[in-house]
Symmetry: C2
Subunit: 192 residues, 2 copies
């Protein structure tokens, strides 16, 4: 009964503060003291919810990753055709990365640096399985190039991370047209 009694609001405030500070300042400049201040909480309170700063960051990563993939696959149905299913998932992912910019940026920073530990990273990867399954189906049906999942990912999903980053740095304004062009490029890159 102990843990459930603790305020979920406080935990959420800590998660939000961590994301914001890591995004804006980097992990190296996101000390516990600042996270606590931003969440309106005592530094000591953080240790009631998390074992350590590392544990905090791991858990925030997994929480955000889960929200991300849940959103991505929410409207997807394994009965869909490969092309239809891919477009659906791709556009949901694009939607998430551009609308939930903070969360997506945090994931990107975690995925490109050693700030989360290896087990958490492995855990996070698993969530993408439905997309890999779809690709296998597409390869079997001769619709998608018979190349490794890494290449398929590199040319469809990973470009979105770059575009997201450019948008956040105010270098690029992403419109519906941009999304459509990007989707077409993604599909062109992997379709047979």
């Amino acid at each position: 009964m102990a843990k459930l009694q603790k305020s979920i609001d406080k935990k959420n405030a800590l998660v939000k503060a961590t994301i914001e500070l890591v995004n804006n300042n980097g992990f190296h400049a996101a000390p516990i003291s600042k996270i606590a201040k931003m969440a309106n909480v005592s530094p000591a309170t953080i240790y009631l919810y998390f074992d350590s700063k590392q544990d905090l960051v791991n858990k925030v990563y997994l929480e955000v990753k889960t929200a991300y993939t849940n959103f991505a696959f929410a409207t997807y149905d394994t009965e869909m055709s490969v092309q239809e299913g891919f477009e659906m998932i791709w556009k949901r992912i694009a939607d998430f990365k551009l609308k939930e910019l903070d969360e997506a940026l945090f994931l990107s920073q975690c995925d490109n640096t050693p700030i989360i530990d290896e087990p958490s990273r492995q855990q996070g990867i698993k969530h993408l399985q439905p997309l890999l399954d779809l690709w296998n189906k597409g390869k079997n049906e001769g619709i998608i190039k018979p190349i490794s999942d890494y290449l398929l990912y590199a040319y469809t999903i990973s470009p979105l991370s770059f575009l997201m980053l450019m948008q956040q740095r105010n270098t690029l304004k992403i419109t519906n047209e941009t999304i459509e062009e990007a989707y077409q490029a993604a599909w062109d890159a992997i379709r047979l």
Copy 2:
């Protein structure tokens, strides 16, 4: 005359140590003391070569970025056809990212986090101009899709960063065949 007398070897050792520590431990776990130890130098000596830790990291970034683009464009000639030129540059970049893994990983970490400051980032971007020029030529000739340079970059160069990361994490073994498939996907994504 002062600066020129200082040992270039020591500076290079510091650059190398910085890259290695930031790659393996992250910027947050790459303290001056460790960088100094790894370069066989006193912490105080670092301040003879750099103004601060921030200055060190900025300069390492720009130095590596310069080496990267010098390599990328070394064999490129503006007289080449668009397709030929693009293949040349793309494959040189692939070469660099996969062979000079340490340097490329360091760049990727800098490009995805706030560890370098904004002026240095802006400076680093400029080095890619020849590629943008080539793309403009390709658009004018109706060879390349008339989409923004950001999209072209997202679907040709940025996928290489993902593949590089996967290779470093021992998740993917990149062969000549992989490179050829990746190049084809890149070209398919952006050609008209």
